[in-house]
């Protein structure tokens, strides 16, 4: 069975990369998309579709992390649902790295994520916490906010 959910999430994550502005110091070198959780699913999709491609002049590198201590400098960090209990801890480390912290499931934004995947009707959508984005010194494009299912200012 094709993993349609992971395909959609991976596509969303890639578009987030094109609609968020990182601080100047993060606009050189590789563009790192990290996945904290299983290697199948979203990580596999991202790796297959985007590894080696570019965001602007930055080459995309997709990394997988199995434990919080392995997580290093990422532009985007997607935390799989089974690891959502670590989000609060991860907020501390990702703030200073200006990481776009992406979670999935109820309460993700409250725990500190900037973008959270949710299900609305039969579709996968996302919600945004602009205040969390600001703390990470990230600028969210209007389009990303406009098409979000929910925006927390």
């Amino acid at each position: 069975m094709p993993d349609t959910r992971s395909v959609v999430r991976a596509l969303y994550i890639y578009t987030f990369a094109t609609l968020v502005e990182w601080p100047k110091e993060k606009r050189t070198g590789d563009f790192v998309i990290g996945v904290f959780g299983e290697t199948a699913g979203v990580y596999s999709e991202l790796n297959k579709k985007y590894s080696g491609k570019s965001i602007g002049s930055q080459k995309i590198v997709v990394k997988n992390y199995q434990s919080t201590k392995d997580i290093s400098d990422s532009h985007i960090l997607y935390v799989t649902p089974e690891n959502s209990k670590y989000i609060k801890t991860l907020v501390q480390t990702t703030i200073k790295e200006n990481t776009l912290l992406v979670s999935e499931g109820a309460g993700g934004l409250t725990k500190g994520a900037i973008v959270n995947f949710i299900i609305e009707g039969n579709q996968q959508k996302y919600e945004i916490n602009k205040s969390n984005a600001k703390k990470h010194k990230l600028v969210i494009a209007d389009k990303l906010s406009d098409l979000a299912a929910n925006v927390v200012k």
Binding site: M1, T4, R5, V8, T15, L144
Partner: protein
């Protein structure tokens, strides 16, 4: 074939019969055509023999000869005013007409000539009703034939370029719907339509191009995908009612609900599918312990559907060891 009770000497017909028996069909054809230009044309048996000769000239494969054979049998029946040979001639007609049906099947399955196949099939049913039995019930034959057409269109979807897929899927739906007109509870037609819509739903997602995709594009494709999955559900649930333990149906329903982000229903069908598959996964693990994908499946099964914490822990450790050699 020729009886001794003919009312007049059958010179040409007799000759034709001898040639026919000897397998000399061209000579038999010349002789029988002479017979029908003579007084012998008033004998039903002459026309019956002509039918046989023309039918067998090319094993009935050449439509031109086949049509002459049918015409001859029809003429034989007409001349037989007392109906002495009716049953026999109907049998000859049936054996000749069935070649149109056989052609339809060959054109469909072996040659992939869908339109020609249907043309041949229509000749078969139309002529059968006209020449043999106007009340013959073709319901079962129609169901089998249209289901076969629908299935062949489905098979072809897998081997054509992406731009042609939709056209073939529409055809598969069209022919499966023809079946449903005869029998709304036909399993295969319901299943095939469900599968077509399911595949359309999947394609709307997995064919989204990786590059240049926009948020609007993701949202729009999800919407189209959702519509297709929702269209699949009634057909698949009907198929499920008709064959409750059918794994293929359960897999399709599982895929639809997964695509629709309906976890409760997805897990219900995932569990049913896992019950079918668990033996295979375990056997595979015994013979191929390093198959990491299989171990992932076992871990998923024992964690999500056929929950067994002890087994889950065991396969979690095995997976970790395989991922970190």
């Amino acid at each position: 074939m020729l009886s001794a009770s003919s009312s007049f000497a059958q010179i040409w017909t007799g000759k034709a019969y001898d040639f026919y028996k000897a397998g000399e069909y061209e000579s038999a054809k010349t002789a029988i055509d002479s017979a029908i230009s003579s007084i012998e044309r008033f004998d039903s048996q002459t026309w019956q023999l002509r039918g046989h000769i023309y039918r067998d000239i090319s094993n009935g494969d050449q439509i031109y000869y086949r049509e002459i054979a049918i015409e001859s049998f029809v003429r034989a029946k007409k001349i037989d005013s007392v109906g002495l040979y009716t049953v026999k001639i109907n049998g000859y007609l049936r054996n000749t007409l069935v070649r149109y049906f056989n052609d339809a099947v060959t054109l469909l399955i072996e040659d992939g000539e869908f339109e020609k196949s249907e043309e041949s099939y229509n000749i078969y049913t139309r002529e059968y009703k006209k020449l043999i039995d106007p009340n013959f019930d073709f319901t079962v034959t129609n169901i089998n034939y249209y289901n076969a057409v629908g299935s062949e269109y489905l098979k072809k979807v897998d081997i054509v370029e992406p731009t042609k897929k939709m056209q073939l899927r529409e055809k598969a739906i069209e022919y499966s719907n023809k079946v449903l007109v005869f029998d709304s509870l036909d399993f295969k037609a319901n299943f095939n339509i469900g599968i077509v819509y399911y595949n359309i739903g999947v394609d709307y997602i997995i064919t989204i191009p990786a590059d240049g995709i926009t948020l609007e594009g993701i949202i729009l494709n999800q919407k189209k995908s959702e519509e297709a999955f929702l269209k699949a559900l009634p057909y698949l649930h009907r198929a499920e009612r008709l064959d409750p333990n059918n794994k293929a149906v359960q897999e399709a329903l599982m895929g639809c609900y997964y695509g629709l982000n309906n976890n409760e229903m997805y897990l219900k069908y995932q569990k049913l599918v896992d019950q079918h598959n668990i033996g295979t996964y375990l056997e595979r693990h015994n013979t191929h312990p390093a198959d990491i994908e299989n171990v992932r499946q076992l871990l998923r099964v024992y964690t999500q559907t056929l929950i067994d914490l002890e087994q889950a822990e065991k396969f979690k450790k095995i997976l970790f060891a395989l991922e970190n050699p």
